[in-house]
């Protein structure tokens, strides 16, 4: 009976994850992290070979070879961590969610064994904004541009009692006309391209667009298919990128809050 369900539910301890433990958490995404002082030319060569989506690559910079890691392409398969002889580990902390596309790329000087990209925004900064965030409302319209539904299952999880996105005043709304932000998943398929543009058009300004998942950020594993147009930014302007295949709920929250923070900093 209905009363039994409520009693049972009230008896349980709240599983709500505190904000401090959410931001930057990426457990379960298998995002890679480079251990710079273990890099060698041979290991880098191997890493580039095993990466299925060309997220890892090598580029020349003024005569020096650099390792390039594009998180927007990474599907978290973990092959680099297997092949990397401890030069790659699974990241424990991943703040590059909701950042610009440039910030999803990291570079290492291979012989110098050092990262040459600036640090990602720290979760400390985002934390400073929490009080502000808690006073605000944000309406999100989720838009599936052709995803495999992996990202949708994780976005749906944001409403569960562990993550409770509503505590930040963030709601999912049914119409793009009510939305401040579009959360777009999937590579944009040919068959969805028109609907994606039309949806973007009816969101009232100022509109924020966040590309979610490897497919939304870069086309991911579907790059090169005749049936897709490309990443979300091939069709509409994008304000922030949340990598991962799929990004975990904590990465989604980190990313959504980071996009808001950047918007406010402008």
């Amino acid at each position: 009976m209905i009363g039994d369900v409520i009693v049972r539910s009230l008896r349980e301890r709240s599983p709500l994850i505190p904000v401090e433990a959410l931001l930057g958490n990426c457990d379960g995404s298998r995002m890679p992290e480079i251990v710079a002082d273990r890099l060698t030319q041979a290991i880098v060569q191997r890493l580039v070979e095993v990466c299925p989506t060309a997220a890892l690559g090598v580029e020349d910079h003024e005569g020096r070879r650099r390792l390039r890691l594009s998180y927007s392409r990474c599907i978290g398969c973990g092959k680099c961590a297997e092949a990397g002889q401890e030069a790659v580990i699974v990241a424990k902390h991943f703040p590059r969610c909701g950042v610009t596309k440039e910030q999803t790329v990291r570079l290492w000087d291979i012989d110098g064994r050092a990262e040459v990209t600036p640090l990602a925004p720290s979760p400390e900064e985002a934390r400073g904004q929490i009080h502000w965030l808690l006073q605000r409302a944000l309406n999100i319209r989720q838009l599936d541009a052709g995803s495999c539904n992996g990202c949708e299952t994780e976005i749906t999880a944001l409403a569960n009692p562990y993550y409770d996105l509503e505590r930040f005043g963030i709601h999912f709304v049914a119409s793009p006309k009510h939305a401040d932000m579009l959360l777009v998943t999937g590579p944009v398929t040919r068959n969805m391209a028109e609907a994606v543009k039309a949806t973007y058009e009816v969101v009232p300004a100022p509109k924020l667009v966040v590309a979610v998942g490897a497919c939304g950020c870069s086309g991911g594993i579907f790059t090169g298919s005749h049936a897709i147009v490309g990443a979300v930014d091939a069709v509409i302007p994008v304000d922030g990128y949340i990598p991962g295949c799929p990004p975990t709920p904590t990465m989604l929250i980190t990313g959504i809050l980071e996009v808001l923070r950047r918007r406010m900093a402008k």
Partner: protein, 496 residues
Amino acid sequence: MKENAPASFPEGEGSVGNTLTIPRTKGGATARLVTVFGSLGPRGEKLVHYVFDVGELPYSQIAFPGYGPIRSIAREIPAAAWHERELHDQYGIEIVGHPDLRPLVFHDNWPDGVYPMIDSVDGVPWSNREYSFLQVQGDGIAEVAVGPVHAGIIEPGHFRFSVVGDTILHLELRHFYAHKGTEKLFEGRSPVDGAMLAESVSGDNCFAHAVCYSQAVENACRIDAPPRALAIRLIGLELERLVCHISDLGGLCTDVGFSVAAAYATRLKESLLQASVQCCGTRYWRGVSVPGGLRFDLDSTKVAGLVQAVTRASRDFSDIAHMILETPSIQNRFETAGVLSMEAARDLGVVGPVARASGINLDVRRDHPYGRYGNCSMKVPVTHYGDVMARARIRIAEVAVSLGLIQETGKSLPEGGVLAPAAAQRDVQGFSAVESPRGELCYWLQARGGRLTRCHIKSPSFQNWPAMPLAVEGNIIADFPLINKSFNLSYSGCDR
């Protein structure tokens, strides 16, 4: 488009040649159609493959020349209708006598006469061809168009309702908005590398796809995955089913406004996803199954921890599920809503929990055992009401079955390696079927010179979608989300 052989089509009943003789079961009934797909032979000639379930252990596979027109079997077996439309879209095979050959996979933007499985797909121009929906005419009939962008966190698809007042007279689906050309993307990959792409066919069933793909390669290359890998796969597959079914019951509660129960279900689901991270590093078991077994071994104590978490969550679920179903307002909404008759389900070759809720006793795990399922005894829950309540009850019963299978397998986890070495065979074909949470999932693949030349995916959603409109007819439009949820079909799995 070039034909490799002169078109020929025999006339008259009973003639052979290009007319398929539909297999029958021992009892004389028409065999259940599993899938129809095209491929190219060694000289580039088109072939049409039919797979049937004739009620025996192996599936019955028939390959058939497709370079001339073929006769549609959709009037005798309605389950073939979408398959034949897809075949026509992908290969340009002429199909004679099909009741509805409108484009299925490609929309208005795709030009006529470009068939991606045989033609070049570089820079296909944008087109603007016509598509017409079925018009239901009469006094007071209105059309309601929904989608492809829906009012929730849902995949894209289009529903065209014809209603009188609130009552649905007819529903026409237009899907394939999530079509990503996945089958074509397999081509040219090494068979070992395809599992990752298979995982992205339907994200919430990614492990079933990875295992089914892995098994198809193993069957093709005659690789025996080690017993420990098979046992861990079984645990992963049953966990995925359990997570899906728990989530589905929560979704049904959401759709009738019972939010406390819905929140409880999401909490149980999340506890299992977090337990998976502890056990294998990812929430949905991505990157675990590969051809030959598993990419890495899972620690036995961690597996035991997972089994404990599953036991706890399943028991909680069982308690709450019974409380939910005893709630009168739930009974009022679930019972008699969205009835799918056994006849309709059979005609359309419906599979999985939806079939079992409409009286069709079908389960790949029992009927065509794979992996470690041959060692397990399992009960397949079946009921015949065919309504939303029946589909909810089947899922609740299946959670208990899955828990039993996980506990049984977890207790006697074999020791040893988890990955058999890849074989060097180069020109191979393989088929595999798995009971995914949504039902029978099949992969058929072919490799030449060590590279995939074809990979066909028959997803349960592709098979079940055409049945959903039949279940909503006569219901009110406000019950549509509930009925749709009770089918819980994947758009991406269908559209690929």
